[in-house]
Every structure is written in structure tokens, then in C-alpha cells.
Symmetry: C2
Subunit: 220 residues, 2 copies
Amino acid sequence: MVRGTRVIVKTTKIPEATIMRLAVYSRFLEHLRKHDTVTTSSGTIAEGAGVTPAQVRKDLAYFGEFGTRGVGYNVEELCGHIRRILGLNKKWPSVLVGAGKLGSALALYEGFNIRGFHIVGVFDVDPDPVGNRFGSIKVLPMEYLDEVIEKEQVQIGIITVPAVAAQDVGERLVEAGIKAILNFSPHVINLPVDIIVRHVDFSLHLEVLTFNLNSRRTIK
Amino acid sequence: MVRGTRVIVKTTKIPEATIMRLAVYSRFLEHLRKHDTVTTSSGTIAEGAGVTPAQVRKDLAYFGEFGTRGVGYNVEELCGHIRRILGLNKKWPSVLVGAGKLGSALALYEGFNIRGFHIVGVFDVDPDPVGNRFGSIKVLPMEYLDEVIEKEQVQIGIITVPAVAAQDVGERLVEAGIKAILNFSPHVINLPVDIIVRHVDFSLHLEVLTFNLNSRRTIK
DNA sequence: GACTGTGAAGCCATTCACAGCT
DNA sequence: AGCTGTGAATGGCTTCACAGTC
């Protein structure tokens, strides 16, 4: 124990799976809100999120007591709580590196902007797409990376370059001051431990499907 | 116990996380193979995949003994084994429903075709994009779904429609004989238990990032 | 000496079951 | 009666540590 430390560190480690589910709950709650539902229950949320009611309650319990016993949860209120927990009450400007097919789709993808993430810069090493425009954003050469990141206070970087370039781009982003990275390339990247990195690889999920299709047929 | 049953069901449940990691290992092994590496070790694979050596060995142990004690693994051989386990030795034709930005990016994404998945049909309910072409594939109206699925023996469906349409499209795919679904829409879908469904939602991952950025700053 | 394969231990997440509130 | 919040129990995944092999 460090003497004199006044900061109370929440020692309860929250499972990452819980965070992911909270995000799913928030989606479902927004859906309910749109349909003017005022009150809901752990059972209803569970069904909408594809989990068990006990799971919903446990997940929420990590952060406080948001419901009323015997009654349930106020949709509007719970939705707000979860959004605040996830940090969705703030704006999160981000930069995207890799202006290929996937990159352009993500840059234009409405789903991102809707939820508080907006891409303030798209970059590419390859001079070819530079100068092109994706919606209102134009693709810039890598030289402008530091400038944009500092000016717009960007903390999040999205990588959509081919596998071979991923590691380099990751390091480049860290140099430029990025704190968290979403890596869509099919290559694992190694960065300092204080950088939050998440690897999102579609084909990985496809391979889980083929594994299951395969073994299911074998067993039958 | 059912009398007379001769089928030996492998009771060892394999963790889904193991399958996902095997897919990552196979990527790294292919990378090694390209660089003409003949032999490797659990330590090297672990580093390339961002896990521990023990984890690599445990994962492989579910399926057999592929290495040589004191020596390591033959890259070519292990790669083949894993590919066979995941079912990647076969072709997996698939259909994609939802010809929006994300759908078109995925249909054109080289990463898919490379690994044995190829999209044999792109569909959309909205008549607008129908008739457009994504590379060599043209977007068809939903009426042709059953025909294509049967003719091409398709088992995998990819959903890239907006949230509101996801459930309907899922049911439609199941009707048409699809056995496994990759759902890219931001809405959980409920389908019969014998259908394998995986939900891939980018913004979920972004929200994990913002949660971490948020709580990190609070603790500091 | 190096590295795999594996039972056992440890750890973490989910589920259960019930007390507590409305 | 209905539904939340939670300690306890369960189950499952990961890590450890070492015997076995080259």
C-alpha cells in the first residue's frame, strides 16, 4: 500500500463480457424508449439481449442499484445510467487509418456517428486514395496525423489497413498520442500495455461458424 | 442412456474461445509459412497471437498431439491440422443480405474470399440497389434467395441490414435452409436453437474502448 | 536443455435461490 | 404477488507445474 494515497480504487474488476452486454442492453433500452415503453424488467431486457434475467441483474449490480424491487426499471433512467457508465454521454472523436473498402464502409457507416463516435480524420499511406472524399471527410496523407489528433483531441484510432501494415500503423498511432485502438486488420498487434487495443476480425467469426457446421455434421 | 446407441459423442465441450484462438493461430502460422519457417514452438505462436504458451498447448490438446516434445511444431503440418479442424479445407459458399455500405464492403472484402468463404449471392429487400453490381456479383431481389441457396448448397448467411429488418431477414434465411448466420446488424436476433448465430457489432467494441478510457481517467 | 502434453489448482464468470422491498 | 439485489454454489476456462520425450 502506498502511504498517503487518498484515491479509492474500485478493486472490483468488471468482466469485459459485462461491458459488452451493457452495450447490448443500452441498444435494447433505446429500442424500448422509441416505442414509448416507460418501465421494464430484467426478464424483458434479458430476452431482448439474448441472456438470462439473473445475468442482467448481476451486470447492473456492478455499478449500483437502478431498479425498484417489485416494480422493475425505468427505461429512460436506466438507459441514461448505462450510457454514462459506458462513457456515451461524451463525444468521442476518432481517426481511421486505411482508406480501402472496409475503411470507407466504416467511415460512412451511420451506426458509428449515431452513437457519439465520429470520425474526424481518414488517413492512408498509399497516395492513391488521398484526396478522395468519404462523405464530408477527405482522405489525408499520414503526415497530417499528429496535427489532426492534437487539434481534435482524438483518443481513439481505428485501423483498417492490410495485415502487413497493421503493426506499423499501430505504433504510429501511439506515437501520435492515441490511447485506444480498434484493429480491424487480420493481424494481432503488440503495443504498450497502457494502450487499450481491441481486435475485431470478421473471418474469425466465420471460422467459428464453419467449425460448428463441420463438427455438427460429423457427430450426427 | 439410450439403448442400442453406437455413436460415441465426444463429450469434451470445446470452449468457443478456443475455436476463436485456433483461427488466430492459423493466421499466424500462415504468416510463418510465407516466411519459410519450418518449425515453431508454443511460445512463438503465443507471442504472435497475444496469449500464453500454456494456452496454446491446451487449445491444441483438445484435438490431438501435433507437436514433438523437445522440438516443437512443424508449421506446415500444424497449419493443415488447424485448417481441417476449423473446416477451412472445404469451400463455404455464402449469401449476403443487405446491400448497403457495410454489405458492399464485406462483399468486396478480399479477406473473405481468401479463406475459403465466397459470397455467391447478394440480396436486398430495397429495390434500389438491385441490379447494381458488386464486383462480379449482382444484387438480386429476395425472391431469388431460395433458388440460389439450393443451387449453390449454401449453408452460411450474412446479415448486413438495418436493425429493424434483421429479425425478419434472419427468419427468411432459416426458411430458405440456411444453417448458420453472421449477424452484422446492431440488433440481437432470436432463431431456432439448431441455427448457429453469431452477432458481430463494431460499435459494441468501440463502447468497450470508451468505457475503459472513461474509467481509467476517473481512477487516475 | 528444450519443449510438449496434461492432471491439478486457481481463478473468474454465471447461475441459483432467497431475502428484501413495493 | 412481483421483481430486484446479492451471497453462495456451481461450472468452466486458464494457469501452473511437472512428467515425458527428443
